[in-house]
């Protein structure tokens, strides 16, 4: 087990370098120059452009820029500065992540509780009315684009009923984040419910379930321990990657509800060609993904005793 974890951690290093390098190169090959972009229709004099590029180190060869950048991150936790605003990227990220973290946590909670709950109800009653109702409901959610859903939530709850403020204020309190979290979590919720339902319905017919019933175990134990443990493996896999996706922020949902999180920051960095900010963000997200997938793999062993990591 320990050796397995160590091996996985070592494997992260090339993945980490590969992904960050790719993103770095992608950003810098985009057409358009962030420094020139500051001047707009006005045009800029070459001397000022050159001076600004030099200050930002943009006049060095690309691989050297990458090397300087990565060593800065690894050795001093220095993510560089933004081109336009001159703010340290760590500040920018420090502003964006806490909000997204809260939003993601809430969406994730909604996903787990409602998704698995609905999935269980449907799975245990496969083929009956409740099952069909849940299938139709989740299909509906999956097929509605997220901005439509957000808009519906806003117009019904904010403008018609006046229960919520239409937009999240600058404090981004927990109560304000409920609406965007529901919108954000709804799509994954539908997937989780369907995934849970299918695996449960399948496992209900398996041999070890028949044995458990034959042993005369109480229903709670049959479903809770024998059935759920095994059925949750694909669900956990999905949830793990989904948490990574949630941490990456949601451009559409954040924009709709005026949430100033990671999604908006990513969008803005792309538009303004803020390479350092973008790579910094992605670096953190890559780490999140890598650790999530490690965690998911380790959870398999917990859920299914047949899986052993030597």
């Amino acid at each position: 087990m320990g050796r397995y974890v160590a091996r996985r951690l070592l494997q992260m290093i090339p993945v980490f370098i590969g992904t960050t390098l790719l993103i770095f190169l992608m950003v810098y090959t985009l057409p358009g120059d962030p420094v020139r972009g500051l001047f707009g229709d006005k045009g800029a004099d070459p001397a000022t452009l050159a001076a600004m590029r030099h200050q930002l180190g943009l006049d060095q060869p690309i691989l050297q820029q990458y090397w300087n950048y990565m060593t800065g991150i690894v050795l001093h936790f220095d993510f560089g500065t933004q081109i336009a605003s001159g703010r340290p990227v760590t500040d920018v990220l420090g502003d964006a992540f806490p909000v997204t973290l809260r939003l993601a946590a809430m969406a994730f909670l909604i996903e787990i509780v409602l998704g698995i709950g609905l999935g269980m109800v449907a799975g245990l009653r496969a083929g009956r009315l409740a099952d069909n109702a849940i299938l139709v409901f989740t299909l509906l959610i999956i097929s509605i684009p997220v901005f439509v859903l957000g808009f519906i939530v806003k117009s019904v709850f904010a403008f018609q009923l006046d229960w919520i403020a239409p937009n999240v204020s600058n404090d981004a309190t927990w109560s304000e984040l409920i609406a965007p979290a529901v919108v954000l979590g709804s799509l994954s919720l539908a997937y989780v419910a369907r995934l849970t339902r299918t695996t449960m319905a399948e496992n209900l017919r398996s041999d070890y379930m028949r044995t458990a019933v034959a042993k005369g175990l109480p229903k709670r134990r049959i479903v809770g321990v024998h059935l759920m443990r095994n059925s949750l493996i694909p669900v956990i896999t999905f949830l793990g990657t989904d948490l990574g996706a949630l941490m990456g922020g949601a451009v559409v949902t954040e924009g709709l509800f005026n949430v100033k999180g990671v999604g908006g920051t990513i969008y803005e960095s792309i538009v303004r060609r803020e390479g350092t900010t973008l790579v910094g963000l992605v670096t953190i997200l890559v780490l999140v993904y890598l650790f999530m997938s490690l965690l998911v793999d380790l959870l398999y062993a917990v859920l299914d005793p047949r899986i052993r990591y030597a």
């Binding site: 962030p34 500051l38 707009g40 004099d45 000022t48 937009n167 924009g255 100033k260 908006g264």
Partner: protein
Amino acid sequence: MRGAKSAKWVAGAAIIALAATACGGGSDEGKGKGGDSGKGAVNANGIFSVEVGEPQNPLQPANTMESNGSIVTDAIFSQLVDYDPAGKLEMINAESVDTKDSKLWTVKLKKDWKFHDGTPVTAESYVKAWNWAANIKNAQTNASWFADIKGFTDVHPEDEKAKPKADAMSGLKVVDDYTFTIELNNPLPYFAYKLGYTVFSPLPESFYADPKAAGEKPVGNGAYKFVSWDHKKQIKVVRYDDYKGPDKAKNGGVIFKNYTTLETAYEDLKSGNVDVLRQIAPKDLPVYRSDLGDRAVDKAYSAIQTLGVAMYTKQWKNTDPKVLQGLSMAIDRDTITKTVLQGTREPATGWVAKGVLGYQPNVAGDVTTYNPTKAKALIKEGGGVPGNKIYIQFNADGGHKEWVEAVCNSITQATGVACAGDSKVDFQADLDARDAKQVKSFYRGGWVLDYPVNANFISDLFRTGAAGNNGFFSNKDLDKKIKAADSAATLDESVKGYQEIEKELVNYMPTIPLWYYKVNAGYSEKVQNVQYAQDGDPILTEVQVKK
């Protein structure tokens, strides 16, 4: 909140509040009536909020070029002069700005002005600030504004590798505490107007110790004092009680609230969470008048959108301007502004925008009037469009696609010339193609006034080598006339000279004028006397908060 406006580029309707839009600050006195005649009791210390995106740059006056930053720097810094909506110059921090030959200018400052940190505003505060901003080492985006001043090339060499030869421009001399002189390279009758632009702000001594920190917590001499900047959330300024300028704030302060999209800002306006908007999202344009009643704003400001002609292409290099005149006549501006643009623009009739000194209506005559028959005839006369197909380059992130298509359809229907939009992924890529001379035939150009003199719409766009001349138009005759107008003895003569030049532009067609911009905005029930300046920004100092 005065000061001339800025270098701006109009990148179009912000899809998201952080998309680049025009930049600028505001200027003018609240003359004339505010938008509403509601005479509510006024709370002189009331604080109101304005929708603004996160400023791109630190809040340094010489580094602020886009609208989200300049509206804030204009509130915090005052300049020597400003101008009213009629384009008349008024003295703010200056007692007088005089010149005999338009080349040597003498500035006398009002005494007893203080920065927000209590230090006095002296001639040195100005001269040192300008020298600092012009110096290439400090890489300020607006440094080129000082190019008129003698000795600019010593501190800001043109060559990319060169080091500055001096620390100060020889043209700036401090005479005594409240007097300094500015010597220009060449006479420039309208130079005093330029002095109203943010870049000519004074800086306190504390700025130089740490310019970066000063950009985060600016200390200025303007009507408002900086309080806090909560990045991506809000910027707060409060009224500076010792302010000596004529444009003292009629409210207690301003909160610049950051919104991710114009749609969310509009929703918040309706629910009373924000007081003043600068723009309305396209989605809400059809309903905003009925939603807001007399709190809806719809007013032209000094900005124009054009089709820039890429003069270096095979297509236009040696083509008779008659062809361009014909294409211009094939654009049904009236219909397009009313339908596709939902009344947010006004058909242009010339190259200089309204509200600018020397604006002349209908200067282009027939050329900006829709007339398919004449359009066809002119194109034929001029030898036809080479390749019989034109492209209009635009940035896909600015909401331009619809009108570009409409213009294309209009041209094709009227003249049979094929026309297609050439979409660049975003504004950066669009600018890249312009700089690299890769525009296929036309590009979308926009210009918001920097200072309210017609020269700004002619010299800065069509002079050979002008930074804003993205179509690389060049004509010796025109350059000579521009020089002549610049060296005229008086401002009036200079403006007249430029008016003559504008009349002649029809014969060259360096760009095809499309339409003037309008402010479509609104405000909440909490405020009154909300007016908008020539650059489309609300005049903050005039806003009154109701009790």
